[in-house]
């Protein structure tokens, strides 16, 4: 009886958990942006915060960097994914690359960025491998490779991380469109593989991956942790500047931060509109290309180029993680030696206590947020099934909304709002803030397998006399154990990777592996970064291995569920 009254409320509750903090945060941003911050004894409205912000010389450059990094990294990632899919989908090389890239998806952005920095920096692995034999360097060159003023290393670091994401999203979309047969047909019409795919399949696929692409764009424009690690700092991107202002002990600086957050939101909206108009340009260019009937001459070389870039992305993350591991165990490690003189446990022992505490905090926050997200998601999907509801495309857009509003636009506002309302920052609110980002990913991960469940199983079970709750608990959920655990692993990985919500909503007092790792940037202690970066990666990867392992053990005698 209880569920009957409770279940219909779950979709609303889920929306509230996802959208509520976003809207509250935006509201909390607007007020201080116009000088209204009662907690600091300031009352608006006034344009002063904007005026002060505009007076900052770095602003145009910071704004430019946000837009440039966002557009460039998204466009490059999408291009690489399109070339890989067009040139290689269905081949063995593709299967290998896919297997290589899928686990890398869960590697937190900060860990990937640290690893990438350890590869490309003047004293990084690449420079060591080439020195002194090729470069002639016997000491690290004085080059600004990481944190370069044009943010090229930041763009590269983002591309490396977004390619696996977009590739897997595209693969999921391909499953829905009937692409295999149209690929066969265009090849029978004399088109080479790559050109044929780009002309016939890509337009269909792009339509389906549009929202995830926008998510990537918004993320890249407003990301903070990657920008702190790889991005320039004279000036830094606008998002980093906002966070700096937010952490200033002088409360009045929050007015400027809020004004910056609104500018950030405007930039993101502008960039999205620009991207959409770019879509239109490409659509007309594309249809002209289709009508030209050209079959493609450069296919082989372009395809191989795409594959090389894909492999490069995979290896960048893999070797980056390896670099984190080596640094975490490194004793003395002189330049240009490829490996340290000795491997020691000292670094791990020295950071052991802090690292364990941070791991526990990370697991607690991620665990609670993921459980809540799973409960809400299963509740929504079950309500949809029982009451035969249909989810419209507008409903899907709501699901993406928390991912399409830049974090730096609403999280500062949320913190300020809590301050004004006298609410305590801390672990509880951090969990709620994580839930905002965990929920959409858990939902997107679980929705398809949940809906694909053969509902005749439910009919049979009901005909056997099982109530709807019994059907859910003893038939549907056990059968869906694997996708549920996978969704949980996705949720945990998302939570582990969260930097800004933990920092801002935790008031700087909640220390997770991610916040601790990013805090190490300024000190530059590579061994400590290695320890925390590696633990951060493990915190995201271990749940994925469990999600594979547990169903295999639980259902070891049930071959009907081995591949489901």
């Amino acid at each position: 009886m209880k569920t009957r009254r409770f279940l219909p409320l779950l979709p609303m509750l889920t929306l509230l958990a996802m959208i509520g903090p976003v809207l509250a945060g935006l509201y909390g941003t607007v007020l201080p942006a116009f000088g209204h911050l009662p907690a600091a004894g300031l009352y608006g409205p006034t344009l002063a915060p904007f005026e002060t912000l505009f007076a900052w010389q770095g602003l145009p450059r910071a704004m430019f960097l946000s837009v440039w990094v966002g557009l460039a990294s998204t466009a490059i990632s999408l291009l690489i994914v399109a070339l890989i899919m067009a040139g290689w989908s269905g081949t063995r090389a593709f299967a290998v690359l896919e297997r290589l890239l899928s686990p890398l998806l869960s590697v937190p952005h900060a860990a990937a960025a640290f690893g990438f920095a350890f590869l490309i920096s003047p004293s990084g692995w690449i420079s060591r491998a080439l020195s002194p034999s090729i470069t002639g360097w016997d000491r690290p060159p004085d080059l600004l490779i990481v944190q370069d003023p044009w943010a090229l290393s930041m763009i590269a670091g983002l591309v490396v991380k977004e390619v696996p994401f977009l590739l897997l999203i595209t693969l999921a979309a391909i499953g829905q469109a009937d692409t295999k047969r149209s690929a066969t047909i265009v090849q029978a019409l004399g088109y080479r593989r790559l050109t044929g795919w780009l002309k016939s399949v890509f337009p269909l696929v792009y339509k389906q991956i549009k929202l995830p692409v926008y998510v990537v764009l918004v993320y890249a424009m407003s990301v903070v942790d990657v920008a702190v690690i790889l991005g320039p700092n004279t000036p830094s991107t606008l998002s980093v500047q906002i966070v700096k202002l937010m952490s200033d002990p002088n409360l009045a600086m929050r007015l400027q931060a809020a004004a910056g957050a609104l500018i950030q939101l405007g930039l993101v909206i502008g960039a999205l509109l620009f991207w959409r108009s770019g879509e239109r340009v490409f659509r007309s260019l594309g249809s002209a290309w289709v009508l030209s009937g050209r079959r493609g001459k450069l296919d082989t070389i372009v395809g191989q180029f795409g594959l090389c870039l894909g492999v490069l992305c995979a290896f960048s993350i893999l070797f980056g993680i390896a670099a984190l591991a080596v640094w975490s165990f490194a004793g003395y490690w002189g330049f240009p030696d490829l490996l340290p003189d000795q491997f020691v446990l000292k670094n791990w022992l020295r950071h052991g206590d802090g690292m364990l505490a941070a791991t526990w905090e990370t697991a607690l926050i991620g665990g609670v947020a993921t459980l809540a997200a799973l409960a809400l998601t299963v509740g929504c999907l079950e309500a949809e099934y029982r009451y035969k509801l249909r989810v419209t495309s507008r409903g899907m857009l709501l699901l993406y909304l928390p991912l399409l509003v830049p974090q730096t636009a609403f999280l500062p506002g949320l913190q300020t709002l809590m301050l004004n309302l006298g609410l305590e920052v801390g672990r509880g609110p951090v969990i709620f803030a994580h839930l905002v980002f965990v929920l959409p990913y858990v939902f997107l991960s679980l929705a398809d397998p949940f809906r694909a469940w053969d509902s005749r199983m439910g009919t049979i079970a009901a005909a056997l006399g099982a109530s709807p709750d019994q059907v859910l608990w003893s038939v549907r959920l056990p059968m869906l154990l694997r996708p549920i655990l996978t969704a949980a692993a996705v949720g945990l990985a998302v939570s582990v990777g969260q930097y800004l919500p933990t920092l801002l909503i935790g008031g700087g007092r909640i220390e997770t592996l991610t916040t601790e790792a990013v805090a190490l940037v300024s000190g530059g202690d590579r061994r400590a970064i290695g320890v925390y970066g590696l633990m951060q990666t493990a915190a995201a990867l271990v749940p994925f291995s469990l999600a594979l392992l547990i169903p295999a053990i639980v259902w070891r005698n049930r071959s009907g569920l081995q591949h489901g």
Binding site: K388, R390, D454, S455, R456, M457, G458, T459, I460, A461, A462, A463, L464, G465, A466, S467, P468, Q470, V471, S474, V475, P478, M479, L481, W555, N557, R558, S559, G560, L561, G564
Partner: protein, 212 residues
């Protein structure tokens, strides 16, 4: 109180267009065979009887089972059993657990266990209780699915082309088994099929729906 299943002026429509209309009584132990091409709404009629009609269909008319009007009862309270063309054994449960799931609540643990073992024996599957359903042959799965349904003590049995996945030899055998078990329990049966031989073997009335 009349025993049997009665479909009273049932009309099923989709988007305002009538798919089928039927008014028919099936007495205990009798079989009504429903034939017709795919898409004519045969399975939809069964979904209406089990209470799992998809939302894009509308239906009117009463369903009366053993004198009770079950038209608005929830699916699990109707006591209407159904078998589909796939066995739909729960893949996460052993053969025995599948049967226990079906077995009506009540009785001691030992009694329940015994009923499950008896059911397996009744269809020549003694010793299969601990088996993984996925390791059974098609004919064995069909028999387990039948016994699972019968253990839930339904008051009527619906068959949605339950033999169409089986090869010819097995088909006759399983068909005979199903009809015999239903007869023993005096169940009214509705059989939906493409195959005239199925309908003939059922031995009851045959209703043929044609596309409207």
């Amino acid at each position: 109180m009349d025993k049997g299943l009665e479909l009273r002026d049932v009309v099923i429509t989709k988007g305002g267009v009538q798919l089928l209309a039927i008014s028919k009584s099936i007495a205990s132990g009798e079989v009504l065979s429903i034939m017709g091409p795919s898409g004519v709404g045969k399975s939809t009629l069964l979904a209406y009887i089990t209470g799992t009609l998809a939302p894009d269909f509308e239906a009117v008319g009463r369903i009366v089972l053993d004198g009770h009007d079950i038209t608005n009862a929830p699916p699990h309270a109707r006591r209407v059993g159904i078998l589909f063309q796939d066995d739909l054994l729960f893949p996460h449960m052993s053969v025995g657990a599948n049967l226990s799931f079906g077995l009506r609540a009540g009785g001691t643990k030992a009694e329940r266990q015994q009923k499950v073992l008896n059911a397996l024996e009744e269809v020549g599957l003694a010793g299969f209780s601990e088996r993984d359903p996925a390791t059974l042959s098609g004919g064995q799965k069909a028999r387990v699915a039948l016994m699972r349904m019968l253990l839930s003590e339904p008051c009527a049995l619906l068959l949605d082309e339950p033999f169409s996945r089986l090869d010819a030899a097995l088909r006759a055998q399983v068909r005979e088994l199903v009809f015999a078990r239903a007869k023993v329990r005096a169940l009214p049966v509705v059989l939906v099929t493409h195959d005239e031989e199925d309908a003939r073997a059922a031995g009851g009335d045959i209703v043929t729906f044609l596309p409207s």
